[in-house]
Symmetry: C2
Subunit: 147 residues, 2 copies
Amino acid sequence: MTAADNDSISAAVEVIGDRWSLLVLRGVFRGLHRFGELRDDLGIASNLLTDRLGRLVNYEVLEKVPYQHRPVRYEYRLTESGRALSPVLVAIMQWGDSYRQDPTSAPMTLVHAQCNAPVENITRCTQCNEVLDAQHIRRADHRTSTT
Amino acid sequence: MTAADNDSISAAVEVIGDRWSLLVLRGVFRGLHRFGELRDDLGIASNLLTDRLGRLVNYEVLEKVPYQHRPVRYEYRLTESGRALSPVLVAIMQWGDSYRQDPTSAPMTLVHAQCNAPVENITRCTQCNEVLDAQHIRRADHRTSTT
DNA sequence: CAGTATCCTCGAGGATACTG
DNA sequence: CAGTATCCTCGAGGATACTG
């Protein structure tokens, strides 16, 4: 067994470390909930969309909610666990905007619905509230990494 | 062209929407900088590690820094753009801890080096500073999504 | 030690057609 | 409309051997 197993990042990677899964989630966060909406928006093959939606439902990130009967049709809604992925998506989007954005297209800004002001994703100290970058973060209960 | 192209998430997904790339990055954030360290830690095949390191260097997320001459040997360091991925990794780790963690293994806590207190990744409003979840975030300059 | 070169296999991905 | 079923192809992934 290597360090690639059994930690919280690799556990999360099973769910979101996949191009289509991440793009499907982005779509659901954007308000696309139905199969056809997602398929048309993403340009994903239907068998792949079926697969990804099924996986996300299995991981309890999405849940199927019937929106019509006879025939029954489901839409895909974020679960609590799915909504908790919001900071991940925001962090990714923010990084993409800053470092990977095609300069010709405008960045996609997210705002606080009440204030109408931009949101930002940060990592901060729960004690002093300071915004932290990688240099000021270390692993707890671990002899300082000597490797 | 579909919505899958040409936005900041799909731009970022090219870099990190891949299991091994993300795990390599995690390793570098943890202080593993040399080829052999990463290979042994991740259990990744050497050709794949070569490929992923090369891609991350191309994306200017990592850079090669010589640490020895005759023969010259390089180690892989985060660039500014790479360090800026810290919130993404922290957000992913935090989510994995909360929702995907194998209950038998302890979560991997990150702390502020000065305070020794745990860090947290959040999304907040740049104006009122409130911590925001998905329900309070919307896209700017966009008729409110009616779909 | 830090890769490069080769080879093989399996399965992801996509296209297309079909169905309750 | 929301999938399921099939089929095909290509390339990612891994193992192994080799090299400056």
